[in-house]
């Protein structure tokens, strides 16, 4: 059974529900681990097959969302060794393991250059970013997402659409044209903000932040590393749906993402 690690600490705040989501999806071996436990050498990334970077406000988003976490991964050394956090993350990735970044965790993956990694080199070069919403404010609202059927993403296998909440102030996906072309050519965009007819849109509030090409989530070319702004762990029971008192909700959309990951690892 796959071992799953949910990272926490320094302002991450969705770790509990990410663990619940994994457990509901069938994970038997999942745990929340504080970054300091890895830095202390108490826990090692290499013992796991699936890492979740949950949402939150890492270091208060003070230098821009997730920037200080990238700084920490790049420069902080793991106790009693020369290895830095980023080195242990690299060997984790190179083993073919899975990573899922949600909201602040997505911002981290993007700014650390873990995804989209269009050059397939794992050089941790930042190619894209997530910046302030066009509206200029933080917003909590549910959005319709269209899944790109041609993307290599293993997390969205067999899923056409998702309905999930976004809760962010810095969620506007942005990159230069060259990078965007590569993302499109390789189908690395996984999710797009859509209207109710499931057409990708730039129209507010369906596209809540003004993301380029309505992109809400991207992956790397292997499809094993995936990040998204909306919160799948916020819709793991039918009763999370904002209209459960008036509509019949069969299955919680967010749970499907976690199920796919575990299925892949099984």
């Amino acid at each position: 059974m796959a071992k799953c690690i949910v990272l926490t600490g320094f302002g991450i705040n969705c770790e509990q529900e990410c663990l619940w989501a994994l457990e509901l999806a069938g994970a038997k071996n999942a745990e929340i681990v504080h970054i300091s436990q890895i830095l202390e050498g108490e826990k090692k990334l290499n013992n796991y097959q699936f890492i979740v970077f949950p949402g939150g406000f890492l270091d208060g988003d003070d230098l821009g969302s997730a920037k200080v976490q990238v700084n920490r991964f790049t420069y902080a050394k793991i106790k009693s060794g020369k290895e830095k956090l980023i080195d242990s993350l690299l060997s984790f990735i190179e083993k073919g393991n899975l990573a899922l970044g949600i909201c602040n965790g997505f911002q981290f993956m993007v700014k650390a250059g873990i995804i989209p990694n269009t050059e397939k080199k794992h050089s941790f070069k930042q190619e894209t970013t997530l910046t302030f919403n066009d509206s200029g404010r933080f917003e909590d609202r549910w959005v319709y997402l269209k899944v790109n059927k041609n993307s290599p993403c293993i997390f969205t296998n067999g899923i056409d659409t998702l309905y999930l909440p976004v809760r962010h102030g810095e969620g506007k996906f942005y990159c230069d044209e060259k990078t965007l072309n590569k993302i499109e050519a390789n189908n690395l965009f996984v999710l797009q903000y859509s209207n109710q007819k499931l057409e990708p849109t730039m129209e507010y509030p369906y596209n809540p932040n003004g993301s380029l090409n309505a992109i809400a989530g991207i992956c790397d070319t292997t499809g094993r590393l995936f990040g998204l702004m909306p919160h799948p762990e916020a819709f793991i029971y039918p009763y999370h749906h904002p209209r459960w008192t008036r509509e019949k909700i069969e299955e919680a959309d967010g749970l499907k993402i976690f199920k796919n990951a575990l299925k892949y690892l099984a």
Binding site: F10, C14, F57, G60, N71, Q126, Y174, P242
Partner: protein
């Protein structure tokens, strides 16, 4: 030491939302047309470092290479006409600067030297046909607050000036003493005033007399003390303050009801609040109430394994001075109350209720008052950052508008928590402190923040003077501390915990020391933000994000190790004793030595007079004949309109517990009556959270104001599916000064209003069986400047928490299916006094809504019964705006029309259609159900005021008829637009 100035901005081809927003506001509110505003972040690094050493840090960590440019030691960009730079004053919390410093240390692999630092500021570049005066005006109205920030305006030809807001304190450390026996009464009061002790003559004399006690003086001599020290005097003043001791609520009051009846009341708190809870508890015979009125928050039973904790605080004065910092510290402060209840509860929700003046206020403002729109903006952003960054969902709240909140906005912040009933085999709600346990301070460091400002008057203001009156919270430091404390709690590393709020260490250690019977503090060990604090300042400082704990000596090593691992600073600052004394030392020398008993129980009781000046109720006739227009205008009025733009700024579903969200219905935009959360992953048990607040009735009779507020809170919870037998509430009183003085001639009436509100609290909590479990009061919400005085209307907030057996059986307020029958329960009466209708029409008079608790309780139980049986599709309470507003909200939220026969409304007296539509009688609920449940519902409501009044329709029309005449007919989307547009763009 060198300084490096770094400018980080968005690349020129990208739009700058912050700049656009400022451009829009300057046009909207000040009619200044600016062609372009660009903003950038300035980091000033004041450390012994070269650019080469840190250029990778600057280019990778301070800057996002995809969207940012970065300039090192730049000139101004000459394509802009003016620049304005906003930075902090010395000593004001600079969260971004602090984070940048810590990130730089990670990069360098070592700590910066003491005094080396990073400071942040914001640079605004302006382009357009504008002058320096315009920029000054924009800066003062929109960009900075002189209490915490400084600003500098530059022309394009100027060079940037490096600004380093380093705290420099020139005063030497000293302990002052006062030979009080030589002080005359006048001199005592002068001392009280000059040091801002806020102690009255009787209290000063009590202190003077106590310090003449021979036995006590002999004890003091052993530690080299004679006269009272500033440390002792300040501790006493703080402990005896209104804020800490609730002197008015504990006073003996001679109350005259205005009709010749005189009554002596010994403590409002004991007579009404505490005794009502005791009475209810005696009758219940269950263990619902776990810990009430003794700890930082109230504790009730959730289920066999868990308790829940709830507390609401106010942060009014700080929010008037700096709305952002005031509200932010309000929310993170109440978080610590719950974190410091028992052994500490996990924080699971926040609530926020604000009282503001009209944000569109256009009259000239009295001096030193911020525009209500700025208060609105700042407070909301403060609560947004406080809640969101802490990962706590903000699930319930409201905003009440009345222009008497111009001088003092009210900011109520609430927090709920959950904790296992037992931790390591011991009850989690109990604290234990034994002789020899160590006093540990965890979290932030101590600065001059929040010290009562005495330093302001005693020390001349200079460039390096720290700003003390206002503080800014740091949610991330607190989040890290909370993460650590939950682990330390579960490992049993400490036995008691409380927060450092008002009064700082003096309060937190002083209170905890009562459990062991004494303490010995070594002040010099407390970590400081900067050097130069006087011993009394260290003891009294209200610097944020700190908890005080009692740690048994055998656990200290593990506690400190864990603390360090989680990047939380913890320091042993003394030990608990059983000597009976508060003993404070600084660098080995005793600076305070007082019996704890005197500190906590030496305060003389206040004696006050109250005399009620009753309002005589008189019928008011409304001749307005266009109910359609009235309804549309009411929906758009400030107290009724949608607050969606505000509410969506709060994360209301982090932690994945929120089952009924603030907005419900077909388009997720209907106003929910309350929130439902499900705190445990493996159980459908839940909590309902609501509130009631009705200051609009205070001008008539605070007795009915209080009754209506409690009824509203309960009714809201019942509408969501709440069970009245499993509810508890919190009382938060915000009053205008109720003590008569020259400046306050009607003080006796205001105190009588307070007495009456308390009488209602007793009468109605006991009738409903819904006990108060915690509360707070804030008694001096007046603004006095020269001869302008603005007093808030007496305001009482009831916040309610109820236990839900099964969240799957809860209900929302939106119409669900066409064909459903619409019912109303409760009686509509001619009760328009204080109503939104009269406010709209600018009329005063009428009868105040009176609450019939006996009938209502039966109604609430009946509805609960019907909901549990699955008969009810939607339920919504009638409150602001009356029946018509409630039914319109249900219709547009469900995207369905309805047909209503107004004549069927159960009513009392011969009411006009206007009264039927807009009267605000309490205890009324509209609900819908499928036709097939009609018989069952009729059976449940048998004998209660209740009627079938219409049905839900497929169309988009809201149609209300009376005696076969259509009196309101309107498209529901038109109504919704009226309701949504008022605050949409603010």
């Amino acid at each position: 030491m060198g300084t490096i100035r770094i400018e980080v901005g968005l690349k020129k081809n990208l739009t700058d939302p912050r700049g656009k927003n400022l451009q829009k506001k300057a046009k909207q509110f000040m009619n200044i047309q600016i062609d372009e505003v660009r903003t950038s972040d300035i980091y000033t690094i004041d450390a012994n470092l070269t650019i080469d050493q840190i250029s990778e840090f600057i280019n990778k960590t301070l800057c996002d290479p995809v969207i940012n440019y970065v300039k090192i030691n730049p000139e101004f960009d000459s394509t802009y006409d003016f620049f304005c730079e906003i930075g902090f004053l010395p000593g004001v919390t600079d969260n971004v600067g602090k984070t940048a410093k810590s990130a730089l240390e990670t990069f360098l692999g070592y700590q910066l030297q003491e005094g080396e630092n990073i400071y942040t500021s914001t640079l605004y570049a302006f382009k357009g046909n504008i002058n320096e005066r315009d920029i000054e005006y924009i800066a003062s109205e929109l960009l900075y607050n002189p209490l915490i920030q400084q600003h500098r305006i530059y022309k394009k030809s100027d060079k940037p000036i490096i600004y380093i807001p380093k705290v420099i304190i020139k005063q030497k450390i000293k302990v002052e003493t006062f030979d009080l026996k030589k002080y005359s009464d006048e001199e005592l009061m002068k001392l009280s005033r000059e040091r801002l002790l806020a102690l009255n003559l009787e209290e000063m004399k009590t202190i003077r007399d106590f310090f003449e006690n021979k036995d006590f003086l002999r004890e003091r001599e052993k530690y080299g003390l004679k006269e009272i020290t500033d440390v002792e005097l300040e501790s006493l003043a703080q402990t005896w303050s209104e804020h800490c001791k609730h002197k008015i609520f504990n006073a003996t009051i001679e109350y005259d009801d205005g009709e010749g009846n005189i009554e002596n009341i010994k403590s409002l708190f004991k007579t009404y609040i505490k005794s009502s809870t005791e009475l209810i508890n005696k009758e219940r015979k269950d263990n619902f109430l776990v810990s009430v009125f003794v700890d930082n928050a109230g504790v009730i039973t959730f289920n066999d394994k868990y308790n829940v904790v709830f507390k609401v605080e106010t942060h009014n004065s700080p929010s008037a001075l700096d709305p952002y910092g005031g509200a932010l510290t309000g929310i993170v402060g109440v978080n610590r109350d719950v974190l410091g209840t028992g052994l500490g509860a996990k924080l699971i929700f926040n609530t926020d209720i604000f009282c503001f003046a009209d944000p569109f206020y256009s009259e000239p403002l009295p001096p030193k008052i911020l525009h209500p729109r700025r208060i609105y903006d700042g407070v909301i952003t403060g609560v947004e950052h406080g809640g969101n960054k802490s990962g706590i969902p903000t699930i319930n709240g409201s905003i009440v508008f009345d222009n008497r909140y111009l001088g003092k906005p009210l900011v109520y912040c609430g927090t709920g928590g959950i904790m296992p009933k037992e931790i390591n085999g011991k009850p989690s709600h109990e604290k234990e402190v034994k002789d020899g346990y160590l006093i540990v301070m965890s979290g932030g460091r101590i600065g001059k923040d929040g010290i009562h400002g005495a330093t302001f008057s005693s020390e001349e203001l200079h460039e390096g003077s720290p700003a003390t009156a206002v503080q800014i919270g740091d949610p991330i430091t607190q989040k890290k501390m909370a993460d650590f404390l939950y682990i330390a709690r579960d490992r049993g590393l400490y036995t008691s915990i409380t927060d450092n709020g008002a009064g700082g260490l003096s309060s937190s250690v002083g209170e905890m020391a009562q459990l062991s019977g004494g303490c010995e503090i070594e002040l010099e060990k407390a970590p400081l933000k900067y050097q130069g604090l006087q011993p009394w300042e260290i003891l009294l400082s209200e610097s944020q994000e700190r908890m005080t704990l009692a740690v048994p000596p055998e656990n200290i090593e593990e506690f400190l190790r864990l603390s360090k691992q989680y990047d939380v600073e913890s320091t042993v600052i003394g030990k608990f004793t059983s000597t009976g004394y508060l003993h404070v030392k600084y660098a080995g020398k005793t600076v305070a030595f007082m019996p704890l008993d005197f500190l906590h129980n030496g305060l003389p009781e206040m004696k006050l007079k109250a005399k009620f000046n009753p309002y005589i109720e008189k019928k008011i006739n409304i001749s307005h004949e266009a109910p359609n227009e009235l309804l549309k205008n009411l929906l758009g009025s400030l107290n009724i309109c949608s607050k969606e733009t505000v509410v969506r700024k709060y994360d209301h579903e982090v932690q994945a517990m929120t089952i009924i969200k603030p907005f419900v219905g077909l388009y997720n935009d209907g106003p929910s009556d309350g929130a439902i959360i499900k705190p445990l992953p493996d159980s459908y048990e839940g909590l309902v959270i609501t509130h009631g607040i009705c200051p609009k009735y205070s001008d008539f009779d605070t007795y009915h104001m209080a009754a209506c507020a409690l009824d509203e809170a309960i009714r809201n919870a019942v509408c969501c599916g709440g069970n009245i037998d499993k509810m508890a509430c919190l009382d938060n009183f915000c009053w205008c000064d109720p003590i008569k003085s020259e400046k306050n001639p009607d003080g006796e009436h205001k105190l009588a209003q307070l007495v009456r509100a308390n009488k209602a609290l007793y009468d109605y909590t006991t009738s409903y069986g819904v006990p108060c479990i915690s509360g707070k009061d804030s008694m001096k919400n007046d603004y006095i400047m020269g001869n302008i005085k603005i007093s808030i209307p007496p305001t009482l907030l009831f916040s309610l928490i109820g236990v839900i057996e099964d969240v799957r059986k809860t209900v929302t307020m939106d119409f669900k299916n066409s064909g459903d029958i619409i019912f109303i329960t409760g009686i509509t009466k001619d009760e328009l006094a204080g109503s939104e209708l009269l406010r709209l029409l600018n009329l005063k008079g009428g009868f105040v809504p009176k609450v019939d608790a006996k009938t209502n309780k039966k109604i609430y139980k009946a509805l609960y019964n019907a909901i549990q049986n699955g008969y009810i599709n939607s339920a919504h309470d009638c409150s602001d705006g009356g029946f018509a507003v409630a039914v319109a909200e249900m219709a547009f939220s469900g995207g369905l029309g309805c047909e209503i026969d107004l004549e069927r409304l159960p009513s009392e007296g011969n009411l006009s259609t206007i009264e039927l539509l807009f009267s605000e009688s309490a205890g009324r609920i509209i609900f819908t159900a499928k036709e097939k449940h009609l018989k069952d519902i009729e059976k449940i409501f048998n004998g209660l005021p209740f009627a079938k009044i219409g049905h839900v329709t497929d169309g988009q029309l809201l149609k209300i008829s009376y005696k076969n005449q259509v009196i309101i007919q309107e498209n529901i989307f038109t109504l919704k637009e009226c309701w949504q547009k008022t605050l949409r763009d603010l």
